[in-house]
């Protein structure tokens, strides 16, 4: 309570009264466990913001799907279930390898950790690769909203491979126009998802380098764990996107 405190070096107090700081413990935490707990919790809170971020998109999707169901069906028929399905598998697998990566880090298996991360990295890239192929198809067919959007596939399904295969009937012009809303949401949702993937892959690359240098096999693995949470979250988003976007009324043929 005095006005001019005796200066005690902060670290000394700590060492004298408590336990040694590990090098990766930030100065303001009392214990390593507290730090891990805090960062883990922070990551979860961050994921909450992500949930709400995607929540806006899902709301929009549900409204318009309700309003313009035929347009959504026809739009969905333009997507390739095979590619979408493969991508789902790719992403689930990457989630699995990521989970295994966390396990390797927990059990301090450096080389397996690197392997897992590299696999995750490759699978992530694979996902984006397939997405690129799909996007390319859409671009070629002028199904990108705003960019010379073409209604050909919906007004005249016989001229279109996918629409024909799905047995679509020609649509009235006004409903056909609403496929643009479907594709807007398709691109907005998968685009946001892909953006998250790209960020994730970037961080993965960094993590692989650090893991090779032995960075995460000393017991301090919060970074890997937290990244794992992020990666699984991105996976979950896709788990919903896949049926919502690709699998609307496939049976209608």
């Amino acid at each position: 309570m005095s006005d001019s405190p005796v200066l005690v070096h902060h670290g000394e107090v700590e060492i004298a009264h408590e336990h040694p700081h590990l090098p990766y413990q930030r100065h303001h935490f009392e214990t390593m466990a507290q730090q891990n707990d805090a960062t883990n919790f922070a990551m979860w809170l961050f994921l909450l913001t992500e949930i709400m971020f995607f929540g806006g998109l899902f709301t929009a999707y549900l409204i318009y799907r309700n309003w313009y169901y035929p347009a959504f069906v026809a739009g969905s028929h333009q997507l390739n279930v095979i590619w979408g399905g493969i991508n789902t598998l790719v992403l689930i697998t990457s989630s699995f390898t990521m989970a295994m990566g966390v396990w390797c880090a927990e059990t301090r298996r450096q080389s397996q950790l690197v392997l897992c991360l590299v696999l995750t990295f490759i699978l992530g890239l694979g996902f984006l690769g397939i997405k690129t192929i799909e996007y390319k198809e859409k671009i070629e067919k002028h199904h990108v909203p705003g960019f010379h959007y073409s209604l050909q596939s919906f007004l005249n399904p016989d001229s279109d491979k996918e629409a024909k295969a799905a047995g679509d009937k020609p649509m009235a012009l006004d409903m056909a126009r609403h496929t643009e809303v479907y594709f807007s949401l398709y691109f907005a949702m998968t685009g946001m998802h892909a953006l998250h993937m790209i960020i994730g892959i970037g961080i993965l690359g960094f993590m692989i380098l650090r893991a090779r240098a032995g960075g995460y096999t000393t017991g301090h693995i919060t970074f890997v764990e937290n990244f794992g949470l992020y990666w699984h979250f991105v996976d979950i988003v896709w788990i919903f996107l896949f049926p919502l976007l690709y699998l609307i009324s496939r049976h209608a043929q």
């Binding site: 309003w67 035929p70 649509m171 009235a172 012009l173 006004d174 409903m175 126009r177």
Partner: protein
């Protein structure tokens, strides 16, 4: 007062004589709304006084001088419950009362005369059924329920007549309605209250409330020759709607006679009430609701008809309804000078109109629950 400079003096006089503190009550709904408003003002004043009283009296009684040592008190569940429950109760009263008024304002009575209003940046266009157009003005008779059907052709606008205590958003792509019954002849402010861009503050006009006689005069002096329904009929022909909607047995589209206000069954199951909004949708987005028994062949007219055009078409289709014609007849057309009184209505609906008029005068169109209070 002579020492005040004459200019300032003039200003003061001008201000003091022109210094309203409360808007005129010029509609039937206004006193009802004000009753609630003053109830809330009263509750607020009591609440505020209570807070001020508590704070000042405690501040005086327990200032440090008078009361040097504070007495620590935990709290009191009883007191806290009191000031939870009493405001809650009062707020709930306001909620119920408010909701009742809300429904009253937005539920037009069955016999209301309908005027269409189109908002655009930055003007109001009113379309009377008799074909009278107005810009940034609205002429209505006193003592008659007037329903406005609003739509915007670009952004959100909001049609506000403070003296009537009514206001309704004009939404792009959708009809909304509001109604009022003016009680005092006079000229009142009409504002656009939803921010709509550069000249939002110039999207203002006058609502002129006239005695029925004056209104009749005004109607006849400002008619454009053709009624709204006649315009609609012309459009109906030029857009070749009649190619399908011609009431012939082999017609590709359903007959539109007596459609308005009826319940239609849809091919998707379910039924829908054919109100103004539905008619509009049917013209612009016909495949949204396919009537049972018909193929989705009707082309969309989006981009081919303006909002005013759609309004004319809607009015025309309404006029194919014997009911509606009766209603309109009792409302507006009888105010017109005899010669123009009967807007000639062509089309399929040929059955004796006058007979129908007599018979169904008391009948109200479906979906409009409120009777004039």
């Amino acid at each position: 007062m002579s020492h005040i400079s004459p200019i300032i003096w003039q200003f003061l006089v001008k201000w003091m004589t022109n210094f309203p503190l409360f808007p005129p009550e010029a509609s039937t709904i206004a006193p009802q709304m004000d009753a609630l408003y003053f109830f809330m003002v009263l509750v607020s004043l009591i609440g505020l006084t209570l807070v001020i009283l508590l704070v000042t009296s405690f501040s005086i009684l327990y200032s440090k001088k008078r009361h040097p040592v504070a007495v620590q008190i935990e709290g009191s569940t009883l007191l806290e419950a009191t000031w939870t429950i009493i405001p809650l109760g009062l707020f709930l009263v306001m909620f119920v009362w408010g909701a009742l008024i809300y429904f009253r304002v937005y539920t037009p009575p069955a016999n209301a005369m309908n005027i269409y209003v189109v908002g655009k940046q930055w003007m109001w266009k009113a379309e009377h059924p008799g074909g009278q157009h107005e810009i940034n003005a609205l002429h209505v008779p006193v003592g008659r329920a007037v329903q406005l059907t609003l739509i915007s052709q670009d952004v959100f606008h909001s049609f506000s007549i403070p003296a009537f205590r009514v206001k309704r958003e004009a939404i792009p792509g959708r009809y909304t309605t509001v109604w009022f019954e003016a009680t005092m002849p006079g000229t009142y402010h009409l504002f656009c209250t939803q921010y709509c861009g550069t000249d939002h503050s110039h999207m203002v006009g006058d609502v002129v409330v006239m005695t029925p006689e004056d209104f009749k005069k005004w109607l006849s002096s400002s008619t454009s020759g053709a009624s709204l329904a006649q315009n609609g009929e012309r459009l109906f022909a030029s857009l070749s709607c009649a190619a399908c909607h011609n009431a012939r047995p082999d017609a590709r589209g359903p007959s539109l006679a007596n459609v308005y206000g009826s319940r239609l069954s849809l091919s998707s199951g379910g039924t829908v009430l054919a109100d103004d909004a539905y008619l509009r949708e049917s013209i612009l987005n016909p495949s949204q609701h396919i009537t049972q028994g018909y193929a989705p062949i009707m082309p969309t007219y989006q981009g081919q008809v303006s909002e005013e055009g759609v309004i004319a078409l809607v009015e025309y289709i309404k006029n194919l309804n014997s009911d509606y014609r009766v209603q309109q007849t009792t409302n507006t057309t009888d105010m017109l000078p005899q010669s123009e009184g009967k807007a000639a209505v062509a089309g399929q609906n040929s059955a004796g109109q006058n007979a129908a008029a007599q018979k169904s005068a008391g009948q109200k169109p479906a979906g409009q629950g409120m009777v004039k209070p």
